[in-house]
């Protein structure tokens, strides 16, 4: 972690409120770093974080902690904390671009039920990261029209161990090996991807943790662990 926005992002990912973090100006710090943490990557809610304010924001803070300035310490510290939060908030918009906005809009559309109540329900149970992935997939779906390709990609992203076999010779069938134990969370994710990205003419066959046997591929031919096709 290098910057204050790193901290805010991390706290948000932990589903905590950024307001729990208190920024304080560091007593001793490296002039080449904004964050000076005793442990490099550990940030927890409720923590005091020492910041080198002059790394990026020299112009803003140069007069707040002049060496001959004493007194009103509490005021200056609180002001510092508030300004840092404000700056971090602005920082978060650094990487914003049109595409990111579009992804945001799509997430909002799904959440408002544009694709129906069931998809809204499933979507709301995904992690934030996964929601972004799915929303981005929807955008690409409309750009490329490649539904099957995106279906495979979404499966790979949400279930890294999954394998999809296509049986397109006699019938349009997809065999999906998810690669993890079946539970409710996994089922919701698979359902959601099926409902969104699969073209209607495909039939699907789901395999959860057990693969069907493929001759010659040893890892699929273990005793007592072979599913039947």
């Amino acid at each position: 972690m290098n910057y204050i926005w790193d901290v805010v992002m991390r706290i948000r990912n932990l589903q905590a409120d950024a307001a729990d973090i208190r920024f304080v100006p560091a007593e001793t710090y490296s002039p080449y770093m904004e964050l000076s943490l005793p442990e490099l990557n550990a940030v927890l809610p409720g923590q005091m974080l020492e910041i080198n304010p002059y790394y990026r924001f020299y112009d803003i803070f140069r007069d707040l902690y002049a060496p001959d300035l004493t007194g009103d310490e509490e005021l200056r510290d609180t002001l510092f904390d508030l300004l840092m939060h404000f700056l971090a908030e602005i920082d978060l918009y650094q990487g914003m671009n049109r595409r990111e906005y579009y992804i945001r809009f799509v997430r909002r559309d799904i959440a408002s039920g544009l694709f129906g109540g069931r998809i809204r329900e499933y979507f709301s149970r995904l992690e934030r990261e996964e929601q972004e992935t799915v929303a981005e997939g929807i955008l690409r779906l409309y750009e490329t029209g490649e539904a099957v390709h995106l279906f495979k990609e979404m499966m790979k992203r949400l279930f890294p161990g999954s394998v999809i076999y296509a049986n397109c010779e006699e019938k349009d069938e997809l065999l999906i090996y998810v690669g993890r134990e079946e539970d409710e969370a996994a089922r919701i994710r698979v359902e959601l991807i099926l409902e969104l990205f699969l073209p209607p003419r495909f039939q699907t066959e789901l395999y959860w943790s057990r693969h069907f046997g493929v001759l010659g591929t040893e890892s699929t031919m273990r005793m007592d662990a072979i599913a039947l096709y």
Binding site: L79, F86, E89, Y142, T144
Partner: protein, 435 residues
């Protein structure tokens, strides 16, 4: 940010310093924060509005009312056929001649307040009903038959062609009422009424269907027929063959959609719409009157009489909707079907449960839905041998407004949604079913 400021101020122990900081915060800082947030919000809106959309100008709203409740100065609803408003009387001499010699004569129209499929079956059964003609000289028993009244469907078809002529993409008109109108045909009777007798009353009975037949109702929509004159003289276009006729829209309202109805083949080359004007480019050199259809934007009416439920083919304005329209790609995923279905305001009482592709010969029952765009033909594929895309729906009970949808209309709403999906998936024949 506001809570954060409050929280931090509350934690300060030195009250004097707290006071100073509080003044600082309320004086400058919070305003700064608000300004920043406002700007971010505006930026987001600008990105959203980059995806333009003026499709909503051409949304068609329909409803019905009884003839006596018809409001000629309604804000946005006009009769689909102006002739509906006129009272049409039946000529006794022709009634008499039909009773004597046979033949067919339209007595009046009826609206059947029932499922469209049921109405179709009733019409196709060719069942004969009875009634009475009462004249000043006596009463006569008559035989009647029902025939579908296709005038309103034809009116929608005409509108489709006007849309095409104006270069506006067609959206299926959601008209749950249009398919339920029937003509009552006199096919014969008993007795010998003279041609001089005056009709006092004609009564017919549809037996068990009497409860759902309504007389004297007229369908309404938000399409107004206007005659508009050029403002000024036609302007020549550079090719010296065509002229630009400019119709000013200031008087009739710039927020509405306008369609020019071309008089004949080749009369209109193309039509341009700008914010305040409609420009017709045509070989016609003389200024004159143009027949214009104004698609009126609906307004909230405070003072209104009891109408049948107002329905429309309006879509919810969403980003994905605009984005999808911008892309030229055909999307074949289930998401697209779900999006089409759920983007309609009219579909708020329906939930798409599943999509199935079935062989045409494995069909279990007759489809519940009927096509609303029979006049839009897919010129590439033949109808025969198409796979069937079966869309399974579930009525959504808890939805807002679900209660106000009368049961005889819900099948029509489903047909509307299915017809719209059909436009996107011409390689299948789409059907709707309940699951």
């Amino acid at each position: 940010m506001k809570e954060l400021v409050q929280d931090r101020l509350g934690r300060m122990e030195d009250l004097q310093q707290r006071q100073i900081l509080k003044n600082l915060m309320t004086g400058v800082f919070l305003n700064l924060v608000e300004y920043q947030e406002e700007m971010t919000r505006k930026l987001e809106q600008r990105v959203f509005h980059e995806m333009e959309d003026d499709g909503q100008r051409y949304d068609i709203f329909v409803s019905m009312c009884s003839r006596e409740d018809f409001d000629p100065i309604h804000e946005f609803l006009y009769p689909m056929l102006p002739s509906d408003y006129a009272d049409n009387t039946v000529d006794m001499s022709s009634v008499a001649s039909v009773i004597r010699e046979g033949g067919e004569l339209k007595l009046f129209g009826l609206f059947l307040e029932m499922e469209t499929g049921e109405a179709q079956r009733l019409i196709q059964s060719g069942r004969v009903f009875h009634g009475q003609v009462v004249t000043d000289a006596g009463s006569y028993r008559i035989d009647i038959r029902l025939r579908q009244d296709k005038r309103y469907i034809h009116e929608i078809e005409k509108l489709y062609h006007v849309f095409l002529d104006n270069g506006i993409p067609w959206k299926t008109v959601n008209h749950p009422y249009a398919h339920k109108f029937v003509d009552v045909l006199l096919t014969g009777g008993e007795g010998e009424p003279g041609s001089h007798e005056e009709i006092r009353e004609i009564t017919v009975s549809l037996d068990e269907f009497d409860a759902c037949s309504r007389q004297e109702v007229i369908p309404l929509w938000n399409v107004e027929r206007l005659s508009m004159k050029n403002s000024g003289f036609p302007v020549p276009a550079i090719d010296r063959v065509n002229y630009e006729h400019v119709l000013s829209l200031r008087k009739t309202g710039v927020e509405h959609g306008y369609l020019v109805r071309a008089g004949g083949e080749g009369e209109v080359r193309y039509i341009k719409r700008s914010e305040h004007e409609l420009t017709v480019v045509t070989p016609r050199e003389k200024a004159g009157v143009w027949e214009v259809l104004k698609v009126t934007k609906p307004v909230e009416t405070r003072l209104g009489r009891q109408l049948y439920k107002l329905v429309s083919n309006r879509r919810r304005d969403s980003f994905t909707e605009r984005y999808a329209r911008k892309q030229a790609m055909v999307v074949r995923a289930r998401a697209e079907i779900a999006r089409i279905v759920h983007s309609f305001e009219a579909a708020e009482v329906l939930e798409l449960e599943g999509v199935e592709i079935v062989e045409p010969d494995r069909r279990e029952a007759l489809p519940l839905t009927y096509p609303l765009n029979p006049f839009v033909s897919d010129n590439v594929r033949t109808e025969a041998g198409k796979l069937v895309m079966r869309l399974g729906f579930k009525p959504l009970a808890g939805a807002q407004g679900a209660k106000s949808i009368p049961p005889f209309m819900i099948g029509d709403l489903m047909s509307f949604v299915v017809s719209e999906v059909q436009m996107y998936f011409p390689e299948y024949r789409c059907e709707g079913v309940w699951v």
